[in-house]
Amino acid sequence: MSTELINLTVDDVPVSVPKGTLVIEAAKQAGVLVPHYCYHPGLPVAGVCRMCLVEIEKQPKLAIACATQVAEGMVVKTQSSAAKSARTGVLEFLLINHPLDCPICDQAGECELQDFTFQEGRPATRYSPVYAKRFNPVEDFGPDVLYVPNRCILCTRCVRFMEDVAKEPVLNVSERGDRAFIGIHPEARLDHPWAGNVVDLCPVGSLLSKDFLHKARAWELDKSASICTGCSQGCNITLDTREGVVVRVRPRPNLEVNRYFICDHGRMSYRWMNRGDRIEAPLVRRGGELHATDWDEALEAAATLLRGAARRGVVLASPRASTEALFFARELFRARGGDWRGAFQVVMGEEAALAAVPNLALRAERAPNARGAELLGYGRDYAAAVAAAETAAVLLVLDEPEIAGRTQGALIYAGTVLPAGGRGEAGGGGGGARDAQVVFPIASVAEEEGTFVNRDGRVQRYFQAKPTPGMARPAWWVFSELLAILGNGDGTEARVATAAAAFDRLASSVDAFRGLSYTHLGLAGVPASSTVPVPA
């Protein structure tokens, strides 16, 4: 796209947009949403739904805003009577074969056919009830996708996604005229690792997620901006919760990271957020047993262990922990001039790229904050750190319950869950989270605010989507509180009240984050300083 700016007006609002911009995008800049179905900024233009018809002065016919490029001095009228009546006509046509089964349709409430019909459709149809509506049975397209052809408006977004974005053209438009439907190759399944996006792309309730089928009505959902924890790509997502339970993950557009898409692995990686077997209270070891207690006693117990630890510690951290938590875990030792070693381990899996989008893939490294951990000095040599932990004075384990390692020193565990099985089973008598002296219940990514740094060094915020269970607290709070209790006389013992303040503390002391704040990061994130090398 050129840097040359074109001036036009959309519904009397003047806008200047780069040459080559489509009218529909220019209208967005003017604050005007032109109703549309087939157009999607992440897909090639099809121009088939004819919903975005607008009037352009000096043009004899109505034009589709999605396929018309802006021109200098163009006067676009989306609300002229000709444009409105054309769109009303399209809506009427779209509805004649539509079953109007909104009460049992998952899309209801977030359906563009509903929305635009309410906005500018006819109050009643003129299609005689005598005429049969098109009927085709529901089809099973793939592992998570159902096709309900009766609701389909043939916008072909799904066909174009599979053909032009995923580059696995298994869908097509079959038949002609009003008999047309979305067909699938007879020997193929819609099982591409990114296939689930067709459900999001579908503007109506025609392509449905089996996972979300009849789980919730759209209007019952609370939506929170988050970051996918499925891999190191850092796709921006929305966590949809219903009554504090995560029921769905959807992509949140970010042109720098995931454009409009997320992979199925990430889409399905949310059930753990709803686990019921969470640690809900701080635990301290008393008489050989872990006892639930309050935060004051648990923090004091941990502080006592740390004070007596000659400041030699090992931190085994999950690469799913927030940057803030990783920072304060480190500071427990480092800020007090101690000798520390931190490490994380990464679960590996298959890589699956989205063919047509550069630098977008389900990454082999299934860790959302490995890069953040690296920037904070955590190493990848997990085995060496586990070995070093044996002789460390304190081993702090952050949310890695199964592989806590053994230590002759004190073990502090901060996590969301304790491993199943009794004492001694996990660690063979000398390790495991159940052998900790102190256990802190912490919030999961869905329950706290924080940041991750993706593989490209982009610092991105995530927001709290559901309440923390019991007395659990964000890990950054636990460690910052502990740090404040320990104190070191240089002022860092000031308490940290919010995630934003926790990040500010991090930004003021780590070069890679220097100058950043939650305000700067916004919803889209910004790259960490690229000049800072990753510590070896």
Binding site: V45, C49, I64, G89, V90, F93, R176, G177
Partner: protein, 426 residues
């Protein structure tokens, strides 16, 4: 026209001169008739000069839109940075039109010669002749003629390929035809980009109708001025045109007349008039996609691009469908709508849903269960279907409906009021 009737004295036989002569199909026979002489001359000319001659002649596209052919050729990039293509639209799928079929059946070399000249003019190295799938006989003659001409090496560096359609009406639409050649579903493309910028395989492409290209050698042979002189009324419509007349006339068939010829004379004189005891009721002058003319309009219509527009219709492809007073216009219009509903490619909403809905309403009227509101509804749907889609299939469905209701409203009202016996069960 020569076949199946002897040429009528009032015909101007240019394209149809050799119709009915089996010998003209062969390479030798065609050369004997002076064929391929102008091709050799044209290939030696500057491409731009060929285009200029065609421009001067006033030749306009014979496929339906009537776009000036030379002007279309001149849209091709002068600087050749990419391969150029010529597509020959031999899909002739418009109901009521069967002129291209006869050109390919009787004078396949005329088409090949014209195609090669056009390819030279637009600097195309490859020509695709997209032949309607149902045209089995024309296909055979074209294939034979092409093989013979290739053996005689008359095309120079130009390669001509025949491509067979699979029976979709919409593949006669130029961009759908290109998609079909590329092996894709035959869906019309949004324009721009126009074919001259990005046509078949994304390369600069010109697409012309069979009859247009068959006229090109004649223009080069006899000169632009001669062709331009073939005009009886509007100077903007030049040359001769083949009219495929079908329906209720005594002698249906192809007739080649000079532009501006009276439609009345074509029907009553050349075609022998109506069947005994019958009178003219209506006529579709340019293939099924154009508005219907009533008797008065038909009898005062001049057959050129402007003359037919004056009467509220279009010259289109020159497929003249004639209805006498025995015709049930409602039924005929339903048949047309049903055709378009069947052939809609399903891309655009208005066309996919509108053509089928229109058909249902017409069927219901014919079943005696229509209402007076149905007529207003049909007109309103037609309004929504006109000028709002990628191609004009939707408009084509609306045209006969709108003109039919306007001109033959009483027939619709007879069915609705029960004055006429239902002819359908819906």
């Amino acid at each position: 026209m020569g076949y199946p009737h002897k040429p009528h004295p009032r015909e101007t036989v240019v394209l149809s001169r050799h119709f009915g002569e089996a010998d003209a199909r062969t390479y030798k026979g065609w050369v004997k008739r002076g064929g391929y002489e102008v091709l050799a001359q044209a290939l030696a000319m500057e491409p731009g000069r060929v285009t200029d001659i065609v421009k001067e002649s006033g030749l306009r596209g014979r496929g339906g839109a009537g776009f000036p052919t030379g002007l279309k050729w001149s849209f091709m990039p002068k600087e050749k940075n990419k391969p150029h293509f010529l597509c020959v639209n031999a899909d002739e799928s418009e109901p009521g039109t069967f002129k291209d079929r006869e050109i390919m059946r009787w004078t396949p070399h005329a088409l090949l010669e014209g195609s090669a000249i056009a390819a030279h003019a637009i600097q195309a190295e490859v020509v695709y002749v997209y032949i309607r799938g149902e045209f089995t006989e024309p296909w055979d003659f074209m294939a034979r003629a092409l093989a013979e001409a290739n053996d005689a090496r008359v095309f120079g560096a130009i390669k001509i390929y025949l491509h067979r359609g699979a029976g979709a009406y919409i593949c006669g639409e130029e961009t759908a035809l290109m998609n079909s050649i590329e092996g894709k579903r035959g869906n019309p493309r949004i324009k721009p980009p126009f074919p001259a910028a990005a046509g078949v395989f994304g390369m600069p492409t010109t697409i012309n109708n069979v009859e247009t290209l068959a006229a090109v050698p004649q223009i080069l042979k006899h000169g632009a001025a001669w062709y331009k002189g073939l005009s009886l009324s509007s100077p903007k419509s030049t040359g001769t045109k083949l009219f495929s007349v079908c329906g209720h006339v005594q002698k249906p068939g192809n007739y080649e007349v000079t532009m501006g010829f009276p439609l009345k004379d074509l029907l009553y004189d050349l075609c022998g008039g109506m069947r005994p005891g019958r009178t003219l009721k209506a006529c579709i002058p340019g293939g099924s996609s154009v508005p219907i003319l009533n008797r008065e309009e038909t009898e005062s219509c001049l057959l050129d691009y402007e003359g037919v527009v004056d009467k509220g219709s279009m010259l289109g492809s020159g497929g003249v469908i004639v209805f006498d007073d025995s015709t049930d216009m409602v039924y005929q219009i339903m048949r047309l709508a049903r055709f378009y509903a069947h052939e809609s490619c399903a891309q655009c909403t208005q066309c996919r849903e509108g053509t089928a809905w229109t058909t249902k309403i017409l069927e219901r009227i014919l079943s005696g269960r229509g209402t007076t509101a149905d007529l207003d509804l049909l007109l309103d749907l037609s309004e929504n279907m006109t000028g709002k889609t990628i191609c004009v299939l939707s408009d084509s469905c609306a045209a006969p409906v709108v003109s039919g209701i306007k001109k033959f409203k009483s027939e619709f009202e007879d069915y609705i009021a029960g004055r006429r016996k239902p002819v359908m069960v819906a």
